[in-house]
């Protein structure tokens, strides 16, 4: 399947884009991240959370949605 992936803040600086479509056949978030680390090795040491369809999910969550987002630490307010 193809997933829309969004990047923000420090993460978008590393990927040098704010969104992209990634073809993906694995099942869960951590498998997806392994794939992403091959493309962007320096993501591996960074602090971020993953949201699926606009809700935060854990590393072992199954990928079911069409949109993932990598969110660095929040800085609102």
């Amino acid at each position: 399947m193809t997933i829309n992936v969004k990047y923000f803040g420090l993460i978008a600086e590393i990927t040098t884009c704010e969104k992209e479509r990634i073809l993906f056949t694995k099942k869960n978030v951590s498998e997806f991240l392994e794939l992403l680390y091959l493309k962007y090795p320096s993501l591996k040491n960074k602090d971020f959370q993953v949201a699926q369809n606009q809700e935060l999910v854990s590393q072992d969550a199954l990928i079911s949605g069409h949109e993932l987002a990598l969110l660095p630490p929040f800085a609102g307010g």
Binding site: Q54, L71, P72, P73, F74, G77
Partner: protein, 147 residues
């Protein structure tokens, strides 16, 4: 009457004192209110490694952020007996000394709004995907992290 529709909380640039003043004035017709409480977040000129923060450039995962603001709103109305509440957050560049967050809670009684404002502001800091690029006077930057 509580307005519980999902709203766009974001405003481009700093939140002006005119906007804040007008928001207060709009509540004069709501005469069941006896107490307003307001929180204003202001961009601080932090000094980090001898460099001074000149501005913060805010970005957000806007769809998720507006959902989170809505959830905070719902939870706040459930928890506190408020007449109304409003949240505005800046996007884009806000200079040091300017306002980037405006939270406004109103109730018949004061004790409720004191508690409500703290609850709302802490929830915003913890739950809403907003990101801040601290831009120094020499145009280098670092990414802000809420503590």
């Amino acid at each position: 009457m509580a307005d519980k529709k999902t709203k766009n909380v974001f405003k481009k640039g700093a939140i002006s004192s005119d906007f804040i003043g007008t928001s207060i004035a709009k509540h004069q017709s709501k005469t069941t209110i006896g107490a307003h409480n307001i929180f204003l977040g202001q961009v601080r000129a932090d000094v980090i490694d001898n460099k001074t923060v000149a501005a913060i450039e805010y970005t957000a995962y806007e769809d998720m952020a507006n959902e989170k603001f809505h959830a905070i709103r719902e939870a706040t109305f459930k928890k506190f007996d408020l007449t109304c509440m409003h949240i505005y957050h800046s996007l884009g560049t806000v200079k040091a000394g300017e306002i980037c967050l405006f939270v406004f809670a109103s109730s018949p009684k004061r004790k409720i709004v004191f508690k409500a404002i703290e609850y709302i502001v802490e929830a915003i800091k913890a739950d809403v995907p907003v990101f801040g690029k601290e831009i120094f006077e020499d145009e280098t930057h670092q990414w802000k992290v809420n503590k």
